[in-house]
């Protein structure tokens, strides 16, 4: 097995094992996304004809808010326990750390999306085609995780890291937000969104964010 793959798998296995034991990140993400959806359900009195326009935004906001909690813990826990230094002194390329953290967060986000989607359908009574919507959400999660892991490491170096992560991350993920909302709108019947290749846009930004993150990550972790 190539060293890169072996090291990524070792770190991924470690993160998943820790999450299974502590349930720190995923439980907070799921509860928060649930609360966002319920709050929107009470706050917005959406008529069925508006759902294809507004509904995707509601669901994606719930996912982004929930995911931000998990991303915030990506390096905070490592720094708090002093284990980040153990990873930094290992003969591991920084891109290995980035890819492992990216995959960990991506898995958490996909679980979050798979739980949030049925809840969204139930609360807002939206008919959706599951596969296109899930595909769109996963593409969105790839970009979100790629950007979020990078800025989680940046924010971890600051005192106000809980505040800094969304402040840094939200402006950068605007293209992902637009792409996901529009592509999901298409999947649930928003006719006005059909004239743009939203999925291609998402794939392009995912690729840009991932490549940039893997390259820049080395400098972010330097003290």
């Amino acid at each position: 097995m190539p060293p890169f793959v072996r090291q990524v798998l070792a770190l991924l296995e470690k993160d998943l094992r820790l999450e299974l034991r502590t349930k720190d990140a995923l439980s907070a993400m799921l509860v928060f996304a649930f609360l966002v959806l319920v709050t929107f359900n009470f706050a917005l009195d959406l008529r069925p004809e508006l759902m294809s326009t507004v509904g995707p935004g509601v669901l994606w906001i719930a996912v982004v808010f929930g995911a931000t909690l998990g991303l915030g813990r990506t390096f905070a826990a490592e720094r708090d326990q002093g284990t980040l230094e153990g990873l930094l002194i290992a003969p591991v390329d920084r891109s290995v750390l980035y890819v492992a953290k990216f995959l960990t967060n991506l898995m958490f986000m996909v679980i979050l999306e798979l739980v949030s989607l049925p809840l969204f359908v139930l609360l807002f009574n939206v008919p959706v085609q599951p596969l296109p919507v899930i595909g769109t959400l996963v593409l969105g999660a790839i970009g979100l995780s790629a950007v979020g892991v990078l800025f989680s490491a940046v924010a971890g170096n600051t005192r106000a890291r809980e505040v800094m992560l969304p402040v840094l991350m939200f402006p950068v993920i605007v293209p992902i937000l637009i792409g996901v909302v529009q592509a999901m709108g298409v999947a649930i019947g928003n006719e006005s969104a059909r004239d743009m290749p939203w999925i291609s846009l998402l794939i392009a930004f995912d690729a840009i964010y991932l490549a940039t993150g893997a390259i820049v990550f080395e400098y972010v972790l330097e003290e």
Binding site: Q7, A10, G82, I89, V92, E223
Partner: protein
């Protein structure tokens, strides 16, 4: 029997081909503050070197810079002939570090922690090597215990197991005796001496002169970020070495 004491201030340069670790003119700044100032040192096979100095002297910063977890602001660092600043990932496989923190995950067992680090370092025959190092540090019976459930001393021993797992050529330790009982301190001292005798190098910082002087062959003294002296020790005698140390750093640590 009377101990002959030789405390000199002469730095003996080592042959270039025998040097495992060579640091030259290392400086580390934190903003305007200078934590390390133009420090140069080298470690050769068999070296067991004490890093002495009062609080704030820069010992931890130097250990972290040598361990590549902290980049120096200036200077060069070579480990096993590899430029550790240009190719840190390659140099790190030859370094083992025991810091103030264990660098272990509290919610993983000792075995799971070692398995993780073993896979990151690419340790061959990992299961057998894990068993070997756990026996070496006396944690064979606690391999499946979560690290956070262990006593401070046991956690420190697990940290040592992590640091020697990949058999590094240079072992860097920052006050490793902290939290260890007398028996464990003695065992650790023997382990470090054996490690150096096996053709590797050890650099150990400590406040406790009487603990390090029995195992090291030389000591370097830091004061306010500067390497102020190097003491070549032959049959060291505690009172004279302590006096020399006090003279150098103007501290009372040696008398503790």
């Amino acid at each position: 029997m009377t101990d002959t004491v030789s405390v000199t201030t002469v730095t003996v340069p080592s042959p270039i081909d025998a040097v495992i670790l060579r640091a030259e003119h290392l400086t580390r700044r934190y903003g305007d503050a200078i934590a390390l100032r133009d420090v140069s040192l080298s470690l050769t096979p068999g070296d067991c070197v004490a890093l002495l100095g009062p609080n704030g002297a820069g010992k931890t910063t130097l250990i972290r810079v040598l361990g590549t977890s902290l980049r120096p602001s200036q200077g060069t660092l070579t480990v096993g002939g590899i430029d550790a600043l240009r190719h840190p990932a390659r140099a790190r496989s030859q370094l083992g570090l025991v810091g103030h923190q264990t660098l272990l995950y509290g919610d993983l067992s000792v075995h799971e922690n070692l398995q993780l680090y073993g896979r990151l370092y690419g340790v061959p025959e990992l299961p057998a090597r894990i068993t070997e190092v756990l026996d070496t540090v006396g944690l064979g019976d606690h391999r499946d215990a979560l690290v956070r459930t262990l006593s401070r001393g046991m956690q420190q021993r697990a940290a040592v197991a992590r640091a020697i797992l990949h058999q590094p050529r240079v072992l860097l330790l920052d006050e490793p005796e902290t939290g260890l009982d007398d028996a464990s301190q003695t065992a650790l001292r023997e382990l470090l001496r054996e490690w150096a005798d096996g053709g590797r190098a050890v650099l150990v910082s400590s406040h406790r002169l009487e603990w390090v002087q029995e195992m090291v062959n030389r000591a370097i003294v830091l004061r306010e970020g500067e390497l102020v002296d190097e003491l070549q020790l032959r049959s060291p005698s505690a009172p004279m070495l302590a006096a020399r140390y006090r003279e150098l750093v103007g501290a009372t640590l040696a008398a503790r």
